[in-house]
Every structure is written in structure tokens, then in C-alpha cells.
Amino acid sequence: MRQLVFLRIALGIALLLAVSVLIFAGTQILPGDVAQAILGKSATPETVASLREQLGLNAPAYVRYFRWLGGALTGNFGTAMSSGQDIATQIKARLWNTLFLAACAAIAAVPLAVILGLIAVRYRNGWVDKLISGLALASTSFPEFFIGYALVYFFCVKWPILPSISTVYDGMPFGERLEAIVLPATALTLVVLAHMMRMTRAAILNVMQSAYIETAELKGLSAFNVIRKHAFPNAIAPIINVVMLNLAYLIVGVVVVEVIFVYPGMGQYLVDNVSKRDVPVVQAVGLVFAAVYITLNIVADVTAIIANPRVRHPK
């Protein structure tokens, strides 16, 4: 088992390296010229050339890649071109904000999704199940900003009980910080809830239709014990898998939600700098997002490996 887990983690690291190449290549080798892009169409060839020199763009691509990767590994992403600020410092503060927001959303969404999934299974094909699936279908069709602005419209304008802009700052008391992120966290929860619930429902249904559940029922176990002793141990791995995959999905949803609520996190930082075409920042933030995403996927796979009795108790 240890070998399998190790292999999966190694694979994840290899994937992350490949992704770093891809991100680097995506910003360096594509037809757009970075220096040109920064300076705009009106720039003279001389200024473009001098900026290329200044950015070290004249070195061969692989040299620049390793220079960049070496920096990234030691926590040095360089400085932002537009503001001259140190990128790593910026990311540190913002990553914490983003993870806090995502964690709050996850704390609300995960239990809610699992409970709703269980209810849907319990009343399968009944009206509760149909209602839940219907809402799930609808909410996967909603763009994030529709949910976000609808929340703002109702809770900040119609019944002004919450702030429409989530300002947070260093040293802010925890309670105030929580209040500031109620709306963005709710929006994020709604964004992932439906999907997570549908997948939980499918995972539990899959287990409940196994022959060993019938065996347990035919032993005279009560419905509760069938689920607790026989369904749950087998459903836990697929559910964790569902949760992890959706947390990864949440990482993407966070980009839009942060923009809506002007929340100082990674997502907003990325979007701002894409508009400014500040390539070093985009590369760094892209890499961090990819790292978080890939890590969550590794966690999902590793739990699946650990939870599999065939792997835990080999022949």
C-alpha cells in the first residue's frame, strides 16, 4: 500500500512539474510577445527591445524556465512589472485569504451536500429526490455571478443586513472577518453544493445497490444498521473522493466570487494582473492554483487507495 501511495504522490509531483512547463510555455512561446503585450501596440521597436533585455527574454527558453522554476521553488517569484511589488509577499497574504474563504465554504457545503445526498437516496424517486435533483440541475446552469449578485441584491440592498464588499485587512478580529465573508462563502457554497450533492447521491446509490447490502438486510439488520455497518465503510472513500474533487472545483469558483465581492484573494489578484498583462504575476498565481488543485486530487486518490480493503489487506 505504501508503495501505491508513494507512487501516486510521485506522479502528482511529476504532473506539477509538467504543469509548470505548460504554464511557462503558455506565456512565453505563444505568438504574443510579452514585451509587446506589456507596452501596447504604440511602443517603438527600441523600447520593446530594451524591455526584452530587462526581462531577460533574450536568453533561450529553457534557461528562462529553469531560472523561473528555481525561483518558484525557493519562494521567489520575482517582482510584479506593473507595481514593482514582491510577488511572493503578495501571494502569501492573499493565499491565506483565499484558503480561509474556501475553507469556510467547504465547512458549510460538505456536510450539507452529504446530508442532502443521503436524503435523496433515502427518498429515491420520490418528490424530495426529484426536487433536489431539479434544483441541482438548475444551479449547475447558474453562472457564479448570477448567484453572487442575486445575494448582494437581496441581502445588501433589499434587506441590508450584510456588506456587499468583503473588506478584510491584517489583524482584523476573527468575528468581523467571518461576517465580512458570509456572502462570498454562501455564494461559493451554492456554486459547489449541487454538484457535490449529485455526486454523493450517485456514490451512495452505487453502494446501496450492492449485493452485500441485500445480505445485510436478509440478516435482519435495521435500515440504520445496514447503512452504518455495511454501506458507510464502503461509501466513505467515494464520498471523500467526491468532496475532494469538488473542493478542487471550488478553487475555480473562488476566482469569480472574489471579483464580485472585491475580496483581496488570489482570484482577484490573478484577474487584475491578466488585465494588466503582468506575466510574472500570472505565471506565479497560475502555478499556485495548479499546485492546490493537483494536491487536492492527490489527496482524493490517496484516500481511495487507503480505503480500499483489497489494497490494505493484500492476498
Partner: protein, 274 residues
């Protein structure tokens, strides 16, 4: 063949709404009361008989903007879906049928592309590419084709190992017959349903990009861009931004309903008579 009366009510609603959106997009210049960029009144006028949906942040007629917005939204989404679908399906089928290094290479590349969230990858790429419609369609289409590739490869691999395909191979049939007569007819229903889902995804993705200011550029606007234009009104209690957002949701739901129905209808295997 299936008569109209056999269509469930939900799918019928989906079909009618989707058709309305498409008609609005096609006949935009004839049915919209005002021009796309024409300033007809005050900023953020409420809904009235003159302006059914009110006016936007610059005093343009919101209904007219919505109708033209449908045009841009659908146009880009359709092209991006067409690109992602043809690219993904052709490569996916070929990978399944030919196998070998071709399959391995493509599959690993797709794994790699899919290991980064699509939005993040799109943002990274858009930070260096010129912002225009062609770039937008290419980026959306290529990134999304990875999902179509995975699905069509999986479906084709499943079918490719069926005994009836083996029987055709034993008979000596060529790849053409095997792909088009044995595999394709059986892969059609999941693929058609996926087409709907990919289109929804393209609409949502385009809207998100435009909302972030990285999609369709002013003065043109798709629905996502219109949300961005009007979002500042929300805090003043002006719901103009919610209208295009709701339109996106409505379009997505309608197509979803249709795709759902197509999938359910065609999975009962009695040829076309089910």
C-alpha cells in the same frame, strides 16, 4: 418515429425556450426596438412601456442590448463548441480505434491539460494573447476539447471491445465501416447529450470571461459583459445586471432539459423506434 406527444413537458419547455433564444439571435436587427449602441434615455431607467427592460449604465435600451447580446453569446459559444467537439471527438475516436503510441501521447497530453482548472489555464493564456474573437474561440474550443476527447475515447473504447465489433473485424471490414457503421451509431446518444452540456459550458465559460473583462470587448457585449457593465448598479438597488445573468441561466437550463431528454430517449436500444 417519436411523435410530438411523446416529448415530456420539461423537454418541450427546453425546446421552446432554446428556439426563442436562437430566433432572437438570428433576427436581432429586425426585432430589437433600438440599435445596439444607441443611447435612448437616462442611465439605468426602470422598466417602462418604452423600454421594457429599462436602460443600462450608459442609457442604452437594455432589451435591444440583450437581443444583440444573444447573438454574440450564441455565435461564440456555438463556434467554440463546434471546434471543441469536432477536435475532441475525432481525436478521441481515432485514439480508441488506432491505439498504440498515438493514443498514449494524446491521452497524456489531455491528462496534463486537464490537471489545471480550465479557467486558470485560460486566464494564463489570455494574459499574453491578443484579445479578439478568434483568440477567444480558439482558447475556449481547444481547452474544452479535452473533455470531449476523454468522453468520446471512453465511449469508443467500450464499444470497440464489444463482440459485434470483433465480429466485423473477423469479417475483414475496414476501419471506415468499423468507425462509421459499428461504433458511431452506438456512440451517438452519449455524444449528442454531451454536445448539449459542452454548449452550456461554453456559454457559462464565455460569460465568466467577459464578466472578468477578458472576453468580448466593448462596445460589443455578450451577456456576461453586460453583467459587468451594469454590476455597479446593484448596490443602488438597480437590478439591470441580473437580467443578462438570468438569461444565461435560462438558456443553460433549457439546453440542459433538452440534452437530458435526448440522453434518456436514445438509451433504450430499439433502433430508432423506442
Amino acid at each position: 418515429m417519436t411523435g410530438l406527444k411523446r416529448i415530456p413537458i420539461s423537454a418541450l419547455i427546453g425546446l421552446v425556450l432554446s428556439a426563442l433564444f436562437v430566433l432572437a439571435a438570428i433576427f436581432a436587427p429586425w426585432i430589437s426596438p433600438h440599435d445596439n449602441a444607441e443611447i435612448v434615455g437616462d442611465v439605468w431607467e426602470p422598466m417602462s412601456a418604452a423600454h421594457w427592460l429599462g436602460t443600462d449604465n450608459l442609457g442604452r435600451d437594455l432589451l435591444s442590448r440583450m437581443i444583440y447580446g444573444a447573438r454574440i453569446t450564441l455565435f461564440i459559444a456555438v463556434l467554440a463548441t463546434a471546434l471543441s467537439f469536432s477536435l475532441g471527438a475525432i481525436l478521441g475516436f481515432s485514439a480508441a480505434v488506432f491505439g498504440g503510441w498515438f493514443d498514449t501521447l494524446l491521452s497524456r497530453l489531455v491528462d496534463l491539460l486537464m490537471s489545471i482548472p480550465t479557467l486558470i489555464m485560460a486566464l494564463v493564456v489570455l494574459s499574453v494573447l491578443p484579445t479578439n474573437l478568434v483568440t477567444l474561440i480558439l482558447v475556449m474550443g481547444v481547452l474544452d476539447s479535452t473533455r470531449v476527447y476523454r468522453l468520446s475515447r471512453a465511449v469508443a473504447v467500450d464499444i470497440n471491445v464489444m463482440d459485434y465489433v470483433e465480429a466485423a473485424k473477423l469479417r475483414g471490414e475496414g476501419s471506415g465501416w468499423i468507425i462509421f457503421r459499428e461504433i458511431l451509431p452506438n456512440a451517438l446518444s452519449p455524444l449528442v447529450s454531451e454536445l448539449g452540456l459542452r454548449f452550456i459550458y461554453a456559454v457559462l465559460f464565455l460569460s465568466t470571461l467577459s464578466f472578468l473583462g477578458l472576453g468580448v470587448q466593448p462596445p460589443d457585449a455578450d451577456w456576461g459583459g453586460m453583467v459587468k457593465e451594469n454590476k455597479d448598479g446593484i448596490v443602488f438597488g438597480i437590478g439591470a445586471a441580473l437580467i443578462p445573468a438570468a438569461a444565461i441561466a435560462m438558456l443553460a437550463i433549457s439546453v440542459n432539459l433538452v440534452a437530458d431528454w435526448v440522453l434518456n430517449r436514445t438509451t433504450s436500444l430499439k433502433g430508432g423506434r423506442g
